[in-house]
């Protein structure tokens, strides 16, 4: 192909895209707001739902960002780790429900369920690292990615075979029903629990990474694996710990997700997984704060945008296109700002 200034063709396309997006967003938002489709209360509820959803994304995104930090690979199977936690915790929840503990002592039962979820996900994550990723540490970059895809399919379909095809309905937790009033704003208790739990876990992680020896070692390994090894850090162990932490957070997120949607199914890992990855990239992959903020942003965006943006264009059933919003964010961020909001471009 002999186009002399091909670079400029690419640039033209990119600029056209930029303009289209800015104009599109502006027009959509303006039209929606000016036609007052939703009441203030409805917007507020959407916002809260978005924050709750976003917290879940943030927890899962942390797993992606941590693993990427140390291994420079995208753990494509992370979404299924998330699913596994929610799925296994379902059995715990059912058992606790069948002997009544779930509703008589929810303050004991709910944390147990969370722990079960986190623990099972941790185990899967560790197995994943050990079996599928560790042997391929030095392989060309396509290889671990393909392996991760295979692992994702394997895990989700194994769960399908082991636990069955259908949806599993989480038992009703009486304590989580109804709303809570904060400053006069009614918030669904489930959402409140999700947001608080996620926030707490994120704080814990932040403290761990910044203040403990192991956390420091993790940061060292993500900076420069080989030098860290020379400094006496057991790189394999740190990587395993990283996977374990990421897995635990994802497992907890799986349980929280199940509380919001009241059900789990073997295929529930894919979409949240991709969206969490989008969140991680949005915030800047490798950055912990970025993953947290990216998750929240994406959750809110996903909640508000269909109505805010698309309805303005008169698009029928805008909520069908929710996933398109998330995927579009992913694509656009990777095209225009692959290092995310809180990352910095690599110099050349």
């Amino acid at each position: 192909m002999r186009r002399p200034s091909n670079l400029s063709l690419v640039d033209v396309i990119l600029w056209a895209l930029r303009v289209a997006i800015v104009v599109g967003v502006a027009v959509g938002v303006f039209t929606t707001l000016s036609t007052t489709r939703l009441s203030g209360d409805q917007w507020r509820d959407l916002l809260i739902f978005g924050i709750s959803q976003g917290s879940v994304y943030a927890l899962v995104a942390l797993g992606y960002t941590l693993v990427y930090g140390v291994l420079l690979m995208i753990n494509f199977a992370h979404g299924d780790v998330f699913m596994f936690g929610g799925m296994t915790a379902f059995f715990a929840a059912s058992w606790l429900n069948s002997n009544g503990i779930l509703n008589t002592s929810p303050l004991i039962a709910v944390p147990i369920i969370l722990v079960v979820g986190a623990l099972s996900s941790t185990i899967v994550a560790l197995l994943l690292e050990r079996i599928a990723y560790r042997p391929l540490r030095r392989a060309p970059r396509l290889v671990p990615l393909i392996t991760a895809i295979g692992a994702s399919l394997f895990i989700s379909n194994s769960v399908r075979g082991l636990y069955g095809d259908g949806v599993k309905a989480y038992p009703r937790v009486e304590a989580l029903q109804g709303t809570f009033n904060i400053l006069g704003i009614p918030i669904l208790k489930t959402h409140l629990v999700v947001i608080l739990a996620a926030f707490f876990l994120m704080l814990a992680l932040y403290w761990f990474v910044e203040r403990t020896r192991t956390g420091r070692a993790m940061r060292a390994v993500s900076e420069d694996k080989d030098t860290a090894a020379l400094m006496g850090i057991d790189v394999d162990r740190i990587i395993s710990i990283t996977f374990a932490i990421g897995g635990a957070l994802a497992g907890a997120a799986g349980v929280l997700y199940a509380f919001v949607y009241n059900q789990v199914i073997w295929s529930m890992g894919f979409l949240p997984g991709i969206k969490a990855f989008t969140a991680a990239v949005l915030g800047g992959i490798g950055s912990i704060v970025g993953a947290m903020l990216g998750g929240l942003m994406l959750g809110v965006l996903e909640s508000l945008a269909p109505t805010l943006l698309l309805a303005g264009f008169g698009v029928p059933s805008p909520n069908q296109l929710r996933d398109v919003i998330a995927f579009s964010v992913l694509v656009l961020v990777l095209i225009f700002r692959p290092y995310g909001l809180f990352g910095r471009p690599e110099g050349k």
Partner: protein, 576 residues
């Protein structure tokens, strides 16, 4: 395996084999396959599945660089470990049954009866003991086979494989035998759906004999070919290709309707695989959204050729095809251009994003006026007449065979194009780019241009596949364009060997053809795809049939050298 050569490591390997056995049962693969008879009344595919881990581990351990007696010991230890673990799991399941079914939903009393040999009248304890003894024994046997003299080993493996293969092709072979008027043969070979005992014994022997002769015959043939002069060799190559094409041409006739349908499905994936191969195998760009091009081709074709679509032009398929190809190539360029600069993993995710956006948009209400929403576009006319036409030798062509022939034609064309590109300046540039992008640039290759070219070509091939798909189904629905298609195509390319054309055919046959023939397999298809991807990457990343370019290079080099020697000789002798 590992460099650790202790008995403990053998035990550990055995425990892993045991876990695999438990897994196969818990996931339901064993019971699904148990419905498939190999030798009626004696052996089912389910049994084979269950013994495979033990046999495998015994065989592998017997390859360790230790003495034969140690090898047997290790294999026995591993088999014992596997058996103990499996038996323990069995007993635990028995104890927890029937409650365990609420968690592991395959573990029914029937399953436990199957595993515990209840049908032989055994109590759980006896069943457990048998489950310890069998894997141990089989592991030892496998080890013995491995350490046996090569010809013995070949004979046993060959015979066993032949037997299993013959039993597996029953759904296809028996109807053919009946069709060709030899029902007695069919009755002799097959009893119910598996082999009869007599035929099993016979095919074991035949397989053993063939396996023993095969290596000798093959190397003899190879030597004959190598000794021949380049002209003859070239002729042989062409002859093989022509025979292959002739075989493909007559295949629908001897295959029957069902098998032809399977072949059509395989053909689609071969075509898509060839297209993705250009993007992934040659240029090294991991595209997880390849289904988007397939969809573009299908939907554009539907829009242009269907009289009831939003466009309603109702053009002839062959007229529409070039238009669709050009449009797809443009889409390929549009998608490729913004993502060119992205690193491998990111590129994969972005293309995945594109693919998913396309999937959602295709079925959305928003685009329903043009794309028909969940119902898609209907009334797409068939590419040739109305699905029935005549061909030389084959005669009347109708049904799935009507798609088969044009599809084969396009596959051959695509394979030809892929082959030509591979051994050209373009192919080399792609390979260099895949190997080391920076150095390729410094060598003068414009990576931007070549990446775009790869995307455009991959898009074009994929879209042709989509166009054929649309006319095959005589309509398009969004449900056919899901992520799984992209991943399946990727698995086909990866399994066969990235960059390898024969590999894609083998990969498609294995991953698409096999599940159709082993219907019991179908439910676990995606599971197997995932396992295959992981296994291939861990064990043999170059795929089943690695890039043959090396052999071809050798061939070319020899030809040139011999050509030059001939020139020299002619000059010396004055013949020039």
């Amino acid at each position: 395996m590992s460099r650790n050569l202790t008995v403990r490591s053998a035990v550990r390997a055995g425990l892993i084999a045991g876990v695999v056995m438990v897994y196969l049962v818990a996931v339901g693969i064993a019971s699904a396959f148990a419905k498939r008879e190999v030798v009626t009344g004696f052996l089912t595919l389910g049994h084979l599945m269950l013994v495979l881990p033990a046999v495998g581990i015994g065989y592998i351990l017997a390859g360790r660089p230790i003495s034969n007696s140690l090898r047997i010991t290790h294999a026995a230890a591993a088999g014992l470990a596997a058996g103990l673990l499996f038996a323990a799991a069995f007993l635990a399941a028995e104890a927890l049954s029937p409650g365990i079914r609420t968690v592991l939903n395959r573990v029914s009393t029937d399953l436990l009866a199957f595993v515990g040999f209840r049908d032989l009248g055994l109590e759980p304890a006896a069943g457990a003991a048998l489950n310890v003894a069998i894997p141990t024994a089989l592991a030892v046997i496998a080890a013995l086979v491995r350490v046996a003299p090569t010809s013995v080993r070949r004979a046993i493996v060959g015979g066993a494989t032949a037997m299993v293969l013959l039993s597996m092709v029953e759904p296809f072979l028996r109807p053919r035998l009946l069709q060709f008027g030899v029902p007695l043969v069919a009755q002799f070979i097959y009893k119910s759906h598996g082999l009869s005992t007599a035929s099993a014994a016979i095919v074991l022997v035949i397989g053993a004999v063939l396996a023993t002769i095969w290596p000798g015959a093959r190397s003899a043939a190879r030597n004959r070919v190598a000794a021949a002069d380049p002209g003859t060799r070239k002729m042989l190559r062409w002859a093989t290709i022509l025979v292959g094409i002739a075989f493909l041409y007559t295949l629908p006739v001897i295959s029957g309707s069902f098998l032809t349908q399977v072949l059509v499905l395989v053909g689609f994936y071969v075509l898509l695989g060839l297209g993705l191969n250009i993007v992934v195998g040659y240029a090294g760009l991991l595209d997880l959204g390849y289904v988007a091009f397939y969809a573009v081709g299908a939907y554009f074709t539907a829009l242009i050729t269907s009289p009831t679509s939003a466009l309603g032009w109702g053009l002839n398929w062959w007229v529409a095809l070039p238009i669709v190809i050009v449009l797809s190539a443009m889409v390929g360029l549009f998608i490729g251009a913004p993502v060119l600069r992205l690193r491998g993993d990111y590129l994969a995710i972005v293309t995945l994003g594109f693919g998913e956006i396309a999937r959602v948009l295709l079925g959305s209400d928003a685009l329903k006026p043009w794309l028909g929403g969940p119902n898609g576009i209907l009334s797409v006319p068939f590419m040739i007449d109305d699905g029935t036409y005549f061909l030389p030798i084959v005669g009347k062509v109708t049904g799935p065979a009507a798609t088969y022939f044009p599809l084969m034609g396009f596959c051959i064309l695509a394979a030809f194009i892929a082959y030509r590109l591979k051994y050209s300046r373009t192919g080399r540039a792609w390979n260099a780019m895949r190997e080391d992008e920076d150095v390729a640039q410094a060598t003068g290759i414009s990576t931007v241009n070549y990446k775009l070219l790869a995307f455009a070509m991959g898009a074009a091939v994929g879209c042709v596949g989509g166009a054929i798909y649309a006319t095959h189904l005589q309509g398009v629905v969004p449900g056919g364009f899901v992520l799984q298609v992209s991943i399946t195509v990727l698995a086909v390319v990866v399994l066969g060997g990235m960059g390898s054309i024969p590999g894609i055919i083998v990969g498609a046959l294995a991953l698409i053809g096999l599940p159709e023939l082993l219907r019991e397999f179908a439910e676990y298809k995606v599971l197997v795809y995932g396992a295959v991807l992981v296994a291939v990457m861990l064990l043999r990343p170059e795929g089943l049939i690695p890039d043959a370019s090396r052999r071809a290079e050798l061939e070319e080099a020899r030809e040139i050298e011999e050509g030059e020697l001939k020139v020299e000789y002619d000059e010396i002798t004055g013949d020039a």
